[in-house]
Amino acid sequence: MTQSAGNTTLDYGRERARMRIASKYIPLLATASVVVILYVYGCAAYGPRFASLRVLVDLFKDNAFLGVAAIGATFVILSGGIDLSVGAVVAFTSILIAAFCEHHGVNCDYLRRSPDAAVAFYRYRHLATHHLHPLLAIGVSLVLGSLFGALQGCIIHFYRQPPFLVTLAGMFFARGMGFVIHPQSLGIKQPFYIAFLNDIKIPLVAGVDIPFTVMCLAVVFLVALFIAHYTRFGRAVYAIGDDEQSATLMGLPAGRTKIMVYTLAGFTSALAGVVYTFYMQSGDPASCIGFELDAIAAVVIGGTLLSGGVGFVGGTAMGVLILGLIQNLIIFNGKLNSWWTRIAVGLLVLVFIAIQNVVTAASRRTTRAAAG
């Protein structure tokens, strides 16, 4: 009797299991299909010029630093949190590096206007005036970014503050500090930088080659995949995002994991800032306003649930591509005026979320039908 009871329930479970495993990947496939649809549509609508390899490479080139930041954001969102400080940290890092590299650091009459800023500034000024080697500058900024993330994580964990709030404050803070370091955009004329951009690249065909920034993105992506699926930390992130209380009772270091997640996000944001400097050869404290929302949109379009616990790094990568494709299509169209551009972007984002919900819901139904 025992046996039979056991078996019946179990067989029942087994049957459904197959469905579940499949359904788990459905949002991912939905996203993938959207990417394909968009690209094919573009090719069809704008002919060989859109279909060209260059456009494809540019797609990655132009979204490299968004990609890096979004991948970091993915972990935060998987852990059930959110990070609004991304854009500000990118801007901060970019201007910090620029200030480090270019010793003509600061226009000072602006500092006279704000004594508090001056006080805060003197430390940086000192560093900035001995213009550091770019690699050192990059190192420093990455460390700063990580520390900043860690700080946010600590406040979130130890004081039980909502991530939305803490990172929002973090956003204001980083944004402001960026302006403290240098009040306006600053070009980087470092030979080292120029070299970086020109020499390190993989040529594909004439005039088209994969630049360093894209390589960075690729590396970050692979590392992220590994972390997410092949490390205890990665699994802990999923677990905590899914059910924090249980995760804690199961002996997972919830606190440490969370803090690490935000540290990681801080690091990737800073890294995105570095990639930004490679990409722009400049730093700008006013850049990337609202960038965090792009990152979040990419993650969500990529099929990760804002509630946490469910999602994939790969999905995020596709989400980034979708955002990039939207931009490209609009530019190729070339007829939308400023406000229609905004409306279009908004609506397209909505459309993709809608498509996703539809497909996912459809799959759920099939699963249930099959299960019953």
Partner: protein, 507 residues
Amino acid sequence: MPDQLLQMQGISKRFPGVLALDRVDFTLRRGQIHGLMGENGAGKSTLVKTLTGVHRRDAGTVLLDGQPIDPRSPKQAEALGISTVYQEVNLIPHLSVAENICLGREPTRFGRICWRAVSQRAEAAISRLDLHIDVSKELSSCSIAIQQMVAIARALDIDARLLILDEPTSSLDENESQELFGVMRKLRDQGLGIIFITHFLDQVYEVSDHITVLRDGRLVGEYETASLQRVDLVSRMIGKDFSQIEAARHAPPTASATTAPHKEKFVQVSALTRQGSIAPIDITIARGETVGLAGLLGSGRTETARLLFGIDKPDSGSITVDGQLVSISSPRQAIRLGFAFTPENRKVEGIIPHLSVRENIILAIQANKGIWAALSRAEQLRIADSFITALGIKTPSPEQAVANLSGGNQQKVLLARWLANHPRLFILDEPTRGIDVGAKAEIEKLIASLCAEGMAILFISSELEEVVRDCQRVVVLRDRAKVGEFTGDQISEHAIMQTIARHEHEA
């Protein structure tokens, strides 16, 4: 006489507003299954949680194998060989069974998890419980019972010296409980110390060697199971004279036996079905009748209730109320028809934790009245107070947040919420789950009196004796289908068990 595994002395723990543990001593020997008994709010769970590092104790000493220990987190506790299975399954729904077993201690090579080893280890842990599950499947696709087993498998996966089972059987059916006890005995013989917390008296007597009783955060005493009469145990747990309960227990049958027959039909369910949750089912409930839904866990009891209350939509079938054909597609509609429903999972589906007792109680009435016709505060207080006294809800004030009450009292608040709404049909899903004997008796008594007042009641419970005691009609379910129905004198635990078992053999 086996040596001491665990000694806890003078353990105290204070939470804001309540002294949860007051100088409690507890001793566990190797190779011993030690029952920890007490009402809700007696401090069982708190005691366990101070031991597993979820809470820090305010005072007292803990010796494990004579070594003083002070775990600050479940992880440290596990490292010390103390592992726990909690009442609600505490696992990660969207991860695979294998991962849930190994989570946080996955075998890694150079920091890289090797998944093959993970699943092998999971297989091993599972097979230790004589279970056979596809460990690669998502946990959320398993039945609660299986999930519970997985939780235990996880607890055993580390070489535990001390295993704590906090209400492990509350969601297991008879067979699964038996399997579990088998495992427990095996482990005891291997020299593990097991702390076993439960509300099922039979189960304590079945497996435990010793029993420690707590009440109101204080130690009542430790006893040899064999030498402790059930009656004494119960009276020690609730600190009341036993005769009261006896009275409460005997009241329902007498009350209902007289009122059971010649009642006009109130709700008639025919061929109600939903793919994947319940095969076509017929139920009729008359006014002043208590109909029981009996069956093993996952047999479709809760599913039926959900359909009846409009939480899930049926694929086909019909419901008539007073002969009128009705369609119920949402709880609101069900409530308008005079239905009420206390769900099985009180915390998630029942209470509004941070709202006050008052607000929780008047919620259903207000929802029924709609947004604009608001009850005056005075009116709300009147209702709340009347029910607090009527049901004996233990709370410092009607403004206390429900989250701060013990399980039993939360359940009472839920009952109050619906009674305030004067339902005509009351669907009770496991109303006595995880509730101490005293409260159980009170609730059963309440059911009887409501029934006597002419309310129709659909009573779902996994404790057959309750069903038998309280119902004038019992519908037996198995594998999501109705397999039998008893009325009046036919109703007996034996008969019901037989029905279920017979079908199992045929299956």
